[in-house]
Symmetry: D3
Subunit: 331 residues, 6 copies
Amino acid sequence: MVIDAHAHLNAPEVFYAYKARLQSSGGHHRGDPKIGDEALAASAARNVALLDEVGTTMQLISPRPYQLMPSARPERIAHWWIEANNDLIRRTVDLHPTRFAGMAALPVCAGRPVEEALAELDRIAAMPQFVGVLLNPDPSEGAGTTPPLGSEYWYPLFERLVSYDLPALVHSAGCFNERETYSEHFITEESIAILTVLRSNTLNDFPTLKLIVSHGGGSVPYQIGRWQAERLMPSLGGSADAERFETSLRKLYFDTVLHNPASLRLLLETVGADRCLFGTERPGSGSVADPVTGRQLDDIKPVIDEMPGLSESDKKLVLEGNARKVFTRLP
Amino acid sequence: MVIDAHAHLNAPEVFYAYKARLQSSGGHHRGDPKIGDEALAASAARNVALLDEVGTTMQLISPRPYQLMPSARPERIAHWWIEANNDLIRRTVDLHPTRFAGMAALPVCAGRPVEEALAELDRIAAMPQFVGVLLNPDPSEGAGTTPPLGSEYWYPLFERLVSYDLPALVHSAGCFNERETYSEHFITEESIAILTVLRSNTLNDFPTLKLIVSHGGGSVPYQIGRWQAERLMPSLGGSADAERFETSLRKLYFDTVLHNPASLRLLLETVGADRCLFGTERPGSGSVADPVTGRQLDDIKPVIDEMPGLSESDKKLVLEGNARKVFTRLP
Amino acid sequence: MVIDAHAHLNAPEVFYAYKARLQSSGGHHRGDPKIGDEALAASAARNVALLDEVGTTMQLISPRPYQLMPSARPERIAHWWIEANNDLIRRTVDLHPTRFAGMAALPVCAGRPVEEALAELDRIAAMPQFVGVLLNPDPSEGAGTTPPLGSEYWYPLFERLVSYDLPALVHSAGCFNERETYSEHFITEESIAILTVLRSNTLNDFPTLKLIVSHGGGSVPYQIGRWQAERLMPSLGGSADAERFETSLRKLYFDTVLHNPASLRLLLETVGADRCLFGTERPGSGSVADPVTGRQLDDIKPVIDEMPGLSESDKKLVLEGNARKVFTRLP
Amino acid sequence: MVIDAHAHLNAPEVFYAYKARLQSSGGHHRGDPKIGDEALAASAARNVALLDEVGTTMQLISPRPYQLMPSARPERIAHWWIEANNDLIRRTVDLHPTRFAGMAALPVCAGRPVEEALAELDRIAAMPQFVGVLLNPDPSEGAGTTPPLGSEYWYPLFERLVSYDLPALVHSAGCFNERETYSEHFITEESIAILTVLRSNTLNDFPTLKLIVSHGGGSVPYQIGRWQAERLMPSLGGSADAERFETSLRKLYFDTVLHNPASLRLLLETVGADRCLFGTERPGSGSVADPVTGRQLDDIKPVIDEMPGLSESDKKLVLEGNARKVFTRLP
Amino acid sequence: MVIDAHAHLNAPEVFYAYKARLQSSGGHHRGDPKIGDEALAASAARNVALLDEVGTTMQLISPRPYQLMPSARPERIAHWWIEANNDLIRRTVDLHPTRFAGMAALPVCAGRPVEEALAELDRIAAMPQFVGVLLNPDPSEGAGTTPPLGSEYWYPLFERLVSYDLPALVHSAGCFNERETYSEHFITEESIAILTVLRSNTLNDFPTLKLIVSHGGGSVPYQIGRWQAERLMPSLGGSADAERFETSLRKLYFDTVLHNPASLRLLLETVGADRCLFGTERPGSGSVADPVTGRQLDDIKPVIDEMPGLSESDKKLVLEGNARKVFTRLP
Amino acid sequence: MVIDAHAHLNAPEVFYAYKARLQSSGGHHRGDPKIGDEALAASAARNVALLDEVGTTMQLISPRPYQLMPSARPERIAHWWIEANNDLIRRTVDLHPTRFAGMAALPVCAGRPVEEALAELDRIAAMPQFVGVLLNPDPSEGAGTTPPLGSEYWYPLFERLVSYDLPALVHSAGCFNERETYSEHFITEESIAILTVLRSNTLNDFPTLKLIVSHGGGSVPYQIGRWQAERLMPSLGGSADAERFETSLRKLYFDTVLHNPASLRLLLETVGADRCLFGTERPGSGSVADPVTGRQLDDIKPVIDEMPGLSESDKKLVLEGNARKVFTRLP
């Protein structure tokens, strides 16, 4: 069995026309996405076919992150939009309950208290279709004004996640700062999320919090030497007695969305196979054929199957076992 | 023959999904709306049917104003979106050249020089499908930061419009100030447009500029007594010798999109039938049945036909003659 | 008997020199307007003469709105100034208690809690000279930052007005946005006030609140078809079962300050004679002779007397009866 | 003969009502101060009487500084107001050409190029009634955003002043920062003006520029030890070879508006009698009787007459000679 | 015995390299100044020698004000830096307990509640090495955004100072507004401190608060005539019955850091010898030889010794007695 | 021979006390760092010893980046500080011309035109001690307001660098956004620098521009699969015919400052040994002993010597050859 822990909803395209109406309405009209059952069934079926093509048994689907608009104003349109996304995921899971499980988005909005997202968290936690959440560490979408994930700003949300035992996939949304595309910003934000969490008391205060960092952990596994050194350096508050950085790092989880075998290997060797969850983002950032091999870049299972030095039991952990351990609400 | 001078494109709904992608992209990807010929033909046919229902011969279609996003950032996404709208209008006109003519949107963007819209104006002026433009007097979309239409900020655009003999339908876009819906803002902006233009030298400097003010001229025909008095008042710079306000007002044109017979009558009596162009916004703000009469509120032709005290020749002017005079590029 | 419900204090001119000192003082010195009894008596007598000229029995006088400076900083100078205005009105009413009644201004200041105006409301409510208040819906004076009148920001004030049974004349103050003169802004703000109040729960939450909208209701009676349609439109949250817009509109009151007979007729036909209060703003926006008729534009009583289709009893309502019903503290 | 080099216009009080109208108009109406000849003659006569009381032959009058509003927006109202002030001064001088001479205000406005004041400077320079100007070193009126008087921002104005040989009385206007009253701000700004000018190249670049610093030079004569030391201090760019601070200071002029004999004595001893001009600000900051002596505090001539250690020729310089040397356009 | 009440710590220069690290760290690393005992002893010994040179028995040392950075961001670096300064002062006093006493800086930071400084105040109050505090009236360091010393913003601090009987030396820190050097800003802020405190109720509410204003009181003793007049002026809220300004002024203390004998004389005559404390700022603003006399400008004791008209007992008060009375914790 | 291409000046610590003075001065005093020859010789000698310890022949030294303060205000203090750094590097190179070569910092300041750095570039280009420059891609130091390195903002600087054939080491400075330490920000900025340059026309317009990206290229070599996929993806403007991402990447150079052998191996395999320059940042981020191996983390030469699969000639390229090719001014 293969569980893909990082994938996004493929809604019928007119769903995004609803988003455009929301953005144009100034927040005065909520309207209705009006996605019919038939249209939804068709797009869900297309997605199932994509799973079958690469041998994925079950996919955990969250809203398309770059479309989430948590920094849109007035923030009620972000709430409406995120709720509509979660509703569509719920309906999609209901159509194929053995092939999809839901990861809900949360309306943590730029410049707003995190508490304003808890009502939606409570709502989706009551639905069996959801097994985890998507956690956007940068609601400001590139403006740099969000308290980082290691800040106490996030504590009310962490507390509630822990109480529901809902794991969170750390994944930023859009980016509007003219310096990065949203895709580049994903990597930046994952790095900041890891580093600020590990610099903080978060994981001491919430030892059962489960954070899965997308895209193989941003830059951190590659730059690990830098952070190992810092932990040891007295002038920066470190010491030879401090917890080693790699030990800290292994308190987080990572997915395999790297699209490059050598990088994936570095990840597995750095954080350990028991902290890695199979993920593809399929269809998404890697849904294109490598011109040399002809293989889709997001067809990651063969890469794991052929990974040198990875034991069979480790492969099983990556492809299924870790996900089962982390996502306790999985059927 | 009946010419409807105020109506908007009915694009296939997925066209607005393209808009959502543009807004989410941070301006890093232009992408492509990908509206197929078949989908466009279907939506155009639906619109033709709406014309037939009410006896409209030809409709002048512009982009859906509240969706235009001229205050979106970075402004290139507004340019891309407006160009995509104009392209879709061109294709729609080509499908039904005797039923539609194009009114192009212009990418005058919030906080940017008006000159940046001239390239697109030149582009559409070269296309026979377009007979006029939509002129948004508030690119800031409710932020109150746009120089009013009576300011010299707009002169480079007015000069170019005059050189092409392209009339402009004054119609604002979205509104994001939490005080007004976009629909309410339309009325505010039409009033400000009229009053600032008539307070300024604009119509002396551009005597051949043709401005058609949407929705019966906002509040101005109703509040005309106030402005007549001001023109006469020495303490406010007026005098008994000044041009009468009603004379100035008749240098502009107005459409009939009022959805209320008594208001339309006030308009016709105030500005004269020779300054009014038949317009319906159909389908749009009045596409709903009056619960009493059962008639669609945007079925305005019968209202004109039955208007007490309006001569047959005046009716013809309103329904066709004025439009022919103003839109010299009409076939 | 003729009651003019919309007029403003004619203070001795040096009263405004006091305002200039306040504005120049940086709020460090309150000073004293020093308007002597003699000077006040002279200016009040001039006003009485203006009433006699046109047959007005009693006039409800409020401070000159465009001079109110509720957005001035520090806000204590606005408080001082507004209190000085109310004091001068009180003294004027005392001079001619059968000819004048007071409408007090309230120091709702830009960017400040509405609660800061309640002390002055309590103060004037204790004075028999005042029968109502002037309610400025835009303390930001054109900056667009004020919560609209339909927002809960205003509830503490509405609650107190209702408890005193004090009606409020909705009338904005200055305008400093370079897009509108203060006079043009009056119309804009009246429209926004009506539309946001009717879009909100305000009148359900305060069913006994009495709001009189100045200048014939801004643009709303003229644009009523647009708002009727919106109420019915499902895509905008409306329905055929919703309360008709014209029904909602009749929960407000309107004055007759329109200076144009045809507009006044539209108002009376649209909202009903039982919702209209005679008002002139005399001396003020219409105090100039029509060059054709030679009649002062603010001599509105003859217009009502001659209004086609208006019954005698309706005329009485407009000229006196409605005011008596609304202003329960009138002698 | 006694020339009072620092005094302000005593306009009829209604002149400031005109200012209030300008401030309330949003800059849309210039209006007219409407100060009649009779009213002006009365206020001028009152001022002449005040001169006679204390034996002043001639007074140099400028507009009342704290009323100048150079930071008001839109800045055209500051221009209109300053021009109206200068016009009233011109008319006052014409009424009593042997008792008054004019010091014109200049419309250097907050955040605007100094060049925008040159047209008014040219206008008043062509009028024989004016012998100098009032130079406000802080058009931002306490916001702290003005380039200091030692900055090159002011060079275009200095150049023009020199070309006309018009001396400038350095005197700030209002203050709106909640930390200082305008009167306290005068002292602050005089100190900053002196210190930044003396730290800069201004007086090398404009050796014939004549600056008279109001109110005895702010804090500088009293704090002179501090600035003498700084000039000598190598670590702050000084040296024993640098021009002594007291030498630099004597390139400026100072008035005697100190209202305290010991302070005036310190001034005279510090900068020299040949750099001090008799000034009283009468009527103004010192127009109140000392409860002990019973003498008006702005009756400064006796203080000079009785100043220990001041020679007769020095007294003549202070009371007349220096003014004659500086104000070459004096009759 | 001679007590110098105004002097600053002479730390080893590398102490300021620690400050540079703090400023560069973004507040992520506190680090450690690492000032060794030997280095500190050397710099303290150099300072003792400077005392001996001019006959000073004991010096009250506070941190170097212009280096305090209370407006630095994030404000925790200002806290760390100020604590490090106080620690170094404590160690210096311990090295020479008969020659130095400590004046602690307080971390009142720009834009932050004054309460955030109380923990450090409590900390130093518990240390016998400290006899008073340095009170910076402008934590915004020239931005003009600090509530002035006469505002209730400061009350929590005043209350605590009074409870510890700790006197405060009023002395501003850096200045970053491009209009004043920090040294010039000292004078401005001292003047504002005096004037706003005396305009407020502060000294009525805290009659035992002891404020010593640096540098002879800014501009106030020199400009005293202006403030005396204002106190008497009815139009500014004054009266002949009001407390005389000079009486109010004598509720404050002043130091002698003026570097100019004539100014010092004016101070002594204006506020009285019993309100003046000997201070030198040595080494500091006056540590340079007068090229004429050859004497260091901050060698102020001879100036007092030779001051005409100052009695021997007054001299003793200035040199020692007043300090003993004010600083009750002095050994 | 071993050339270390990435290292920073070890100035005597009091050099940073000079920086603190500059920051406290408000830009009014330039002062002088006063670093004596003896002190400089001592710190240079300490650095030479560090080179000897690990077998480095020559080190290219630039200023300590996190201390550069290019966002400090007023910007002249950044200019003065950067010039002082370059001067100290020049003097250090002169002390050991065979052991050090200079990499100059450039005063590109936050919010300022890049042209303002060219005078200093010209100055150091004329000095043989400098062989390249340090290029900070984020003068805003974490505020996110700098145009990214792929923007045309940087063209004037690139043009000048190319004209002098001066290579640039891309390395950010401080970080003041509360989300990242400066060290974490280095990695973010390197990633943004690479990705925006490769998304732009920069390397087509300046084919001879030599950019060396610090710290092994941020996140990019690890995340390369993501960017390869994007280049191929038609919906993002890519295609199978586009230049492969890895080809583009090899137009840049990278240093080996990774402190982790597995990461260094990934780098070498991804970009090729011919694009990697030996660098250590020694003493700096890796100057601490690994508690397991006991080896300093910045002793990178043994890691390269022992790198599996790296040929001897490749090792020579990394350790010396590439540096010789890139830095044409090396002796």
